[in-house]
């Protein structure tokens, strides 16, 4: 029983173990934060990568796409390993929105089938509710939602409806960051009032012939009505991707089926009555695997179908079949490497924590040598003294790691707010400056009053009055404008962007802590503390009690 009493007393009364607990706390917090953020980053990346491209994709090796994709899609679709397929045509192009022209990746999709494979529907930002909130329209009062207000419905067909039909232009869904007027507020949210929905924008693409040369007519363009905005969470995508209907983009790129007069390849003369058909082309077919099949099984099945397709059509260079992991391998592996490296570095730091605990405990044992002798004299056994110090290490570990867990949770959960605060000059503002100034003044008054009552001398009060006058003068000299100016300058000087979304693909820092990660790290920290306390505890237990009692 004395062990528990002493451990509790030592924990509260000794500075050394507090430092040890602090070291354990900081190490625990650091490891949890790093594992959470890096792990969260990796998870996010993998999820996003998978959701952006489906399980398996069949990609053309050239920007000109591949023909007879309908047959291939049908063949792939018939595979038992496959649950859905959807053709996608994609190209680089330009979007001119309200005079702002930027380069984007334009994807032509069939929204219905595309949405079954790639996350599309739940990335859409705006709905009729946002419209009604904005324009004071209550959908429950009206008999039916006016079609042009059904932003989600329109995005799911990519077909303008209602009064938007009047534009006589195809529909389009743009990445939320493509819109130059869109920005995030302090909480990182986008506002509907800045959305580009219902606006028109010009799309320009460069059609290529089958052989890859620019087509005769040069660039082609179309106006399109923006029906909705999407946010995938991947900054690159949100900044540079728009969706239009498959057939719209196909036609714009000249990749649609073309019929024309046939010419004799030898004479170059038109063959009367004969027709030449140029088959429609696509860039890619995205595939979703069926339930119960592993990714590799789906991949090899699709590969088989593509090989058979190439064989039947005598295509020498068939489209390439890749899983989402292969497609994003470089990217994902880079992050995996980074996570591994950082984890390794933090294992080293944890070893440092063990050594710190060992050092602290060694000092404690030295300091407590005589007490150990006393305990032995009063009847404590060697095992008792050993377990006293091991228990002490355990207590330091438990306290330190739980505090570390709390700190880590607090930091990870608020990482985005912390980042915002740092990026905006450590939150310096005139308001805070005035709060600090006011606090200082109140502190001075309280301190002076306490000082006066403790010393009971008038000179203290007089000097306090002089001090307050000085503070008042300085306060009067620094007008509000100057404080604001100072705050602005400070802001500018010390702003620190920890997480730049343009570098880090995701717009938010991952802020989830996995239960088992945290549990594992906390237990690891506790074990480390006990290990750190082990050698000092053994030394303490082996002390000769008579020597210990003589120790000065």
């Amino acid at each position: 029983m004395y062990k528990l009493t002493l451990i509790l007393k030592y924990l509260r009364r000794k500075l050394g173990p507090m430092f040890a607990a602090l070291a354990v706390m900081l190490c625990t917090a650091m490891v949890i934060i790093v594992i959470s953020v890096m792990g969260g980053f990796l998870d996010l990346l993998q999820t996003s990568a998978k959701q952006l491209t489906g399980d398996v994709s069949v990609q053309a090796r050239s920007l000109t796409g591949f023909a007879h994709y309908e047959d291939l899609a049908a063949a792939v679709s018939a595979l038992p390993e496959v649950s859905a397929v959807s053709p996608v045509v994609s190209t680089f192009g330009m979007i001119n929105l309200d005079g702002h022209t930027i380069g984007v990746n334009i994807m032509g999709i069939e929204p219905g089938s595309f949405s079954k494979i790639v996350r599309y529907e739940d990335t859409l930002m705006w709905s009729a509710d946002d419209m009604s909130e904005r324009y004071g329209f209550d959908p429950s009062e009206s008999k039916a939602t006016p079609p042009a207000f059904d932003l989600r419905g329109m995005a799911m067909t990519l077909e303008p409806d209602g009064f938007l039909k009047g534009y006589n232009a195809p529909g389009m869904v743009i990445g939320v960051e493509v819109n130059p007027y869109q920005y995030r507020d302090e909480q990182g949210r986008y506002g509907f009032s800045n959305s580009a929905a219902h606006q028109t924008a010009a799309l320009t693409v460069l059609p290529l012939t089958e052989r890859g040369a620019p087509a005769d007519l040069g660039p082609s363009y179309t106006n399109a009505v923006i029906l909705n905005e999407f946010k995938s969470g991947l900054y690159e995508i949100d900044r540079g991707q728009v969706f239009v209907r498959f057939d719209v983009l196909q036609k714009l790129l000249g990749m649609d089926r073309k019929e024309g007069p046939a010419f004799d390849p030898e004479t170059g003369e038109e063959i009367p009555g004969a027709m030449s058909v140029k088959p429609a082309r696509t860039s890619e077919i995205v595939v979703r695997g069926a339930e119960g099949y592993r990714l590799e099984q789906v991949h090899s099945a699709v590969q088989g179908a593509v090989a058979a397709f190439a064989e039947a059509r005598s295509i020498s260079i068939p489209p390439v079949v890749r899983t989402w992991e292969q497609r994003h391998a470089q990217f994902i592996n880079a992050v995996k490497n980074e996570k591994g490296m950082v984890t390794f570095l933090f294992i080293i730091i944890s070893v440092v924590a063990v050594v710190m605990v060992a050092t602290t405990f060694y000092m404690t044992v030295l300091e407590k040598t005589r007490d150990i002798g006393v305990l032995r004299a009063v009847g404590a056994s060697q095992a008792g003294v050993l377990s006293l110090f091991l228990g002490y290490g355990l207590a330091v570990g438990v306290v330190g790691s739980l505090l570390g867990l709390a700190l880590a949770l607090e930091i990870v959960w608020h990482l985005n707010e912390i980042q915002y605060w740092l990026a905006n000059g450590l939150g310096v503002s005139a308001h805070y400056a005035w709060c600090a100034g006011g606090g200082a003044l109140i502190g001075a008054v309280v301190g002076g009053v306490i000082g006066y009552f403790r010393r009971k001398t008038l000179s203290n009060a007089v000097s306090l009055a002089l001090l307050l006058m000085l503070v008042g003068l300085i306060g009067a000299w620094i007008s509000l404008d100057q404080v604001e100016d100072l705050a602005y300058k400070l802001n500018h000087a010390i702003s620190f962007k920890m997480w730049d979304p343009q570098t880090y693909f995701f717009d938010r820092i991952p802020d989830k802590v996995k239960f088992y990660d945290a549990l594992f790290i906390v237990l690891g920290a506790i074990v480390s503390s006990v290990v750190g306390a082990l050698i000092p505890a053994v030394l303490a237990a082996r002390l000769d009690p008579v020597e210990a009692l003589r120790y000065e």
């Binding site: 029983m1 002493l6 032995r376 004299a377 009063v378 009847g379 404590a380 000769d544 009692l549």
Partner: protein, 247 residues
């Protein structure tokens, strides 16, 4: 040995004809200091009978404290035996020697040796806590506490139980140490120069307390270099050149 109860407390003083409670036989102890052998005890023999107060006198460095440590099972001799209740304590196994120190002897040191983090009451309770496991403590706690409070009252510190040693005077600290030594009702109180660090007046008060304990039947072995203090004891022994002789 564990079944031995501490009935000696209420026996009348000086029962010299009863069988010895503690027998020291041919005790040898040497230290090696700086490459030289220093023989401190060279065949010490003594008996301590229940209720007896034995004072061991000797010059400083004569080995008085070593003898006391050996009797208390805190140190091991080169040769010889300390027999308590018919058994050589140095042949005890499996924590029995720790239990001997905990239950059958109580140490009082010259420089008190209280644990600075604990209050006076907690210091007194240390012996009782060591005796009890965490699970056993709740059941024993009330009784142990009552006894510790009573002991502190008896040594005149009833009002200062919550004070830590740093807030107590030397005499008060020694009283706490005496209370701590008595908390498990030991058969023998081992006092090592209990007044050595105190001024004459305070030392006298401590001696009065020890005398009172003795009158209530407490067996005491006290080592001192001060003949005046030793004069209160039933029996005085001199430790000279490693052996004991009656004064």
């Amino acid at each position: 040995m564990d079944t031995q109860t501490t009935t000696s407390n209420h026996q009348p003083p000086t029962t010299n004809h009863s069988p010895p409670l503690l027998t020291v036989t041919d005790l040898h102890k040497h230290y090696r200091i700086g490459g030289q052998d220093l023989c401190v005890l060279e065949g010490v023999d003594m008996d301590v009978r229940p209720g007896e107060w034995v004072a061991v006198l000797g010059a400083s460095g004569s080995g008085k404290s070593t003898l006391l440590h050996l009797i208390g099972g805190l140190d091991r001799p080169d040769k010889g035996a300390v027999t308590f209740d018919g058994r050589d304590i140095f042949k005890l196994r499996g924590g029995a020697l720790d239990r001997y120190r905990n239950r059958h002897v109580g140490f009082v040191f010259q420089s008190y040796h209280l644990l600075p983090e604990l209050t006076a009451l907690e210091n007194v309770l240390t012996g009782a806590m060591i005796r009890s496991s965490i699970l056993g403590w709740p059941a024993r706690r009330g009784e142990a506490r009552r006894r510790a409070v009573a002991l502190l009252g008896r040594v005149g510190l009833g009002e200062r139980m919550k004070h830590r040693p740093s807030k107590l005077s030397g005499g008060e600290r020694q009283r706490v140490a005496i209370a701590r030594a008595l908390v498990n009702e030991p058969d023998v109180l081992l006092a090592d120069e209990p007044t050595g660090n105190l001024d004459t007046e305070t030392g006298k008060q401590i001696m009065e307390l020890i005398t009172e304990l003795h009158q209530q039947g407490q067996t005491i072995v006290m080592v001192t270099h001060d003949q005046d203090i030793a004069a209160t004891a039933d029996r005085r022994l001199w430790l000279r050149e490693g052996a004991l002789e009656e004064a």
